[in-house]
Amino acid sequence: MKLLFEKSQPGRRGGGPPQHGLPRADVPDELRRAEPPRLPEVAEPELLRHFTELSTRNFGIDTGFYPLGSCTMKYNPRVNERLVMVPGFRDIHPSQEEDAAQGALELMWRLQQALIEISGLHACSLQPAAGSQGELTGLMLMRAYFTDRGEGAQRDTVITADTAHGTNPASVTMAGYKLAKAETDARGNVDVAHLRQLVNERTAGLMLTNPSTLGLFDENIEDVAKIFHDAGALLYYDGANLNAVCGISRPGDMGFDIVHINLHKTFSQPHGGGGPGGGPIVVRDKLEPFLPVPAVVRDGDAYKLDYDRPKSIGKVRGYTGPFGVFVRSYAYIRSYGPRLREMSETAVLNANYVLARLKGAYALPFDRLCMHEFVLSARNLKREHGITALDVAKRLMDYGFHPPTIYFPLIVPEALMIEPTETEAKETLDAFCDAMLEIAREAADKPELLKEAPHGRPVKRLDEVRAAKRPILKYGFGEHAPPEVEPGEARQLEAQKGA
């Protein structure tokens, strides 16, 4: 289809601001824009049709099953969207005085209390905008804690598991720490013997997901916590997989001191191409003085922003966090109430059902009961038929399913990481399993069908190497290549551009 720029006609527009008939205010010459910005020029009907058509070219949770492992792509209840659009939530300014924002502050305080209870810890900050910022904030808390104890320079290393999300090691570096990597043992737990070798007086802490990215609950978590606590180090819980354990077990009880929670995973949000997100952190009492300012606190019947935290790491984001995300997640938690455990139990049940149906057809590197997700391997298909995890993923699109996460975690070759979530019906799970089993048969009978998949999507397999080698990251106006060109012709066009 054409780009909006290609539909653009000079002088057209959707609209503009109301006219007030007031005298113009002059912009100083040296600051005035010389040439107008090159934005699209289209009327509102064309604009609406353009974006509506684009939306039909996307696969989303509202169009079908989306078992993207570690992303917890659960259904976003529509009542949440109504709540977030209540004018008293939607139209409040973050600089309003506390007494003019009591409703918002109370909602935030109550969400904090719910997250504290779910985590089994003592204090919460809602400020971080997503998991990655939560991780960085948590590591800054770790540094502030040790600096306050006079151990800041000494403790310069953070340990992560070899199954960790990529964010963990990236956050470690961004926070100015050195990284050490712990291996996984034969049962899929963190290798305790290896941890004992790694932990010493230079260790600031461990970052761990539990259940891990293999979808397995670490059977030695209490021993792991003891190793770190005995060495004076802290434990950080990557909450990406919290959907497995809500109301069943609590990170604080497992021994974790700092937790980040991905509100947009565990407690539902719209999945708009990767956001919005919310990444609150919850901590043990000894870390509370270091939390970001302002803290949302209750004082009698009133709710306040407390800036008087002399040991605070400061602000990690403007104002107090992505409030609309809080409204939706608070509503989701309240919709379950004390039955929140059923959310996680159903997520775990769904995952184990799908695992049980698929494990004969695909390799299963760690054959245990899984939590909310599990990791299969297509290595049997690769060995026998030359079919890779990528081929399976692409073929799944032809059956109307979003592919699982592939090639992660890194320790599993040809990994297929599947997370059904609790919001799917058994018939959906069965349809997905039927498709996966059919694909395994096709791998033997018609491997070329898989190699050329997908067949029914708006585009075939995209040339990623070309995209990275000669990046086209913005519209080129007169020099931009048309929508459909022969590959040879496209190369020629690019060469002419010399971009």
Partner: protein, 278 residues
């Protein structure tokens, strides 16, 4: 923004030096001296007080010191104010709330980071690129992923995964709806309504904190009494006049930062004047 930069800088081994404002804006000579050993110079256009900085001179001062000039801009201003890329900035950053998102008590909103192409491979987060499919048809992929945490892990340019794409999409729709002419008109409306508000307030004896400066959307006024008290009185009459500047700056306990955007009308401004002067 200053507070957030201070929180992050130590982890990257960076030190933050602040150049104080002089009568509401920044002196390029002071920036030049401060930037001698600096990695970058960040300035806001318009700044916190709503004043228009001598942005091209600030960028030139940064470039002379071989520091990267970074403009923190209001996208709504860029129909009337020159684009940072046209006066020597290496990066432009900003908050998108005013361009297509609800206030929603501070989020979720989108922000943006625009860079000269030389910085592309050092940028954080997801980047979309154009390519072709197996049949030669145009298509789009996430690209340059060897920068990112899921590939490069501890050597990644950032840890970012989840972003605010849905909010950015709303911004895209809004800016596409406005087009170049509409964006300019929104900027002009903010400025003409702002000028009208400043003049009306001055007529009633309300003093501007920085009377010599050109402003965009926001401007600071002295209300002749404690600002928090004045705000409370105004709220009782159904008008929220703005932000008490004494929260952030000493000596401005009687000052309110007023915002007048395209969402207001001349009648709204008249009511504000009535309430503040009363």
């Amino acid at each position: 923004m200053r507070q957030v930069v201070k929180t992050y800088a130590p982890g990257f081994g960076l030190q933050v030096v602040e150049v104080p404002h002089r009568g509401g804006t920044t002196d390029p000579d002071e920036v030049r001296r401060a930037a001698t050993d600096a990695a970058c110079v960040i300035f806001q256009q318009p700044n916190f007080f709503g004043c228009l900085e001598p942005a091209p001179d600030l960028a030139a001062a940064a470039n002379e010191a071989e520091a990267v000039a970074i403009a923190h801009v209001d996208p709504i201003s860029l129909g009337v104010l020159e684009a940072p890329g046209n006066y020597g900035c290496g990066l432009a950053i900003g908050e998108g709330q005013g361009a297509g998102n609800y206030q929603s008590f501070a989020g979720p909103h989108y922000g943006f980071l625009a860079a000269r192409s030389e910085f592309t491979r050092r940028m954080p987060g997801r980047i979309v690129g154009e390519t072709v499919d197996a049949a030669g048809k145009r298509g789009y992929v996430l690209t340059l992923q060897t920068r990112e945490q899921h590939i490069r892990r501890e050597k990644a340019t950032s840890n970012i995964t989840t972003n605010q794409t849905l909010l950015a999409l709303a911004g895209l729709v809004y800016l596409s709806w406005l087009g170049p002419q509409g964006l300019r008109e929104v900027g002009e409306t903010c400025m003409s309504l702002g000028r009208y508000a400043r003049e009306r307030l001055r007529e009633t004896g309300v003093e501007l904190v920085f009377p010599e400066r050109t402003t965009f959307k926001e401007f600071a006024v002295r209300v002749g009494r404690n600002a928090k008290e004045a705000i409370r009185q105004a709220r009782a009459q159904g008008v929220h006049p703005g932000y008490a500047l004494g929260r952030d700056y000493g000596g401005l306990d009687d000052a309110i930062l007023v915002a007048v955007t395209e969402r207001r009308t001349a009648a709204d401004v008249d009511r504000l004047v009535e309430v503040l002067a009363g």
